[in-house]
């Protein structure tokens, strides 16, 4: 099982909510759009909080099964 986090740059307003709940997984680029750090180092609960807390639902967490 692996995780993928999609950022919809159109919806992202750069609120920074994701950086509060998963500070090691998200950073902002110069346009204040969320960018996912390689390996998304925070625990799953923190990442879920970041995704659910996003005020504009710009984040999507996809759990991929590996066969």
């Amino acid at each position: 099982m692996s995780l993928r986090i999609d950022v919809d740059r159109e919806s992202c307003i750069g609120s920074g909510v994701c950086l509060v709940y998963a500070p090691n997984t998200f950073v902002h680029d110069d346009d204040a759009k969320a960018v996912v750090v390689d390996g998304a180092p925070d625990d799953l609960e923190s990442i879920q909080n970041a995704v659910q807390g996003c005020p504009t639902r710009a984040l999507r967490l996809i759990v991929e099964d590996e066969f």
Binding site: I13, G16, V17, L19, Y21, P23, H28, P55
Partner: protein, 418 residues
Amino acid sequence: MSEQPVLDRDRMRELFDLRNSIVMFTGGNYTDDPYPIWHELRDQAPVHAGTPHELNGIEDDLFFHGLPFPEWPHFTAFSWTACDEAYRNDIVFASSATAVDPEYEGGLRGYESSLLTMGGAEHRRYRSLVQPSFVPAKAQWWITNWMQATVDALIDTILEEGRGELNVDFCAAIPVITITGSFGIPVHQALDVRETVSDPQKMIEFLVPIVEARRDEPADDLISVLVEAEYTDEDGKIHRLSDREIYSFATLLLAAGSGTTWKQMGITLAALLQRPDVLAAVRDDRSLLKPAIEESLRWMPTDPAFARWVAEDIDFHGTHIPRGSILHINLGAANRDPSRWDRPDEYDIYRPLKPSLAFGSGPHVCLGMHVARAEMTTGIGALLDRLPNLRLDPDAEPPSPLGFYERGVMEIPVVFDA
């Protein structure tokens, strides 16, 4: 010693009196605990007809965001799910009366064309111009430029006395000096500017020469960022903010950011001081300061209700709300919804961190949330660093919350080992 002049204490007490005539209009004399009624109402239904204060049994005509609007029907949402959904659905739940009725002329005077009331693409475009100055990575810019010296100077004034009052003499001063500082206004004028908060036109007089100067020569401050901000419209044409747009943003920032952070810092400090074991834990392990602040925001948000103007008929969590109504989002009640938090009435800094609605949600989520967090972290952190054995004054009245739409504590009398 810092060279920063210290603010006039008597004037501070006058300007930041939670029982003054202006705060009275938002329910300043309310001293009951509103939460038991909010629990009851939420248990009965997620959404009720009526304004939040009417539903709490307050008969006075109060004023706040979305109030009084006497000719509009009012509803209030209480559950986590209903409040969260209302914030996120900005098509149905709009941020201004004019989104519903373009002819409407009531409402918040002076703030008609601000980020607060814009919608859709216009709001997105304006917000994207200022958002980069308010991201978490910019917190240190705010702290270094406009917070740290003020915090240090305020502590210097009480350091040798061995006692102090932290609500007005400390918490209230930090946000106003931070914001006016970021405009390029010197500390000695900060209180003159704060006095204009109910008269945006007067505040513009302070801003005119600054905006002009920054257009000539930008400095390392927020007005310079606003002066230089550019956006490209659909036709590829580049726009800059007009002077009027900058004044409008600056007045909104002062109105939205100075009272809220002050009161939330006071609520947080009072919660910690009333729990000496928790305070000691935070002092010893500063990584606990973040959860202590987040828990205060959940447990007792200073502004527990904001409004939205209903642009379409909707059946909303069991209640029919007609177009042309106002929905009040009781985020204070949502933040203690037992379906989301165990033991919701307890201030528990060790509970698992999850998003609350203290800063709202949706496209209008609080722009200043990371600046507010930085102010509270810097202020409370410095008190813990510099005032040994900080504790409530055992001979004084303990702090207790008051207010309805703007909640805070009156006084935080403390003693420490000088």
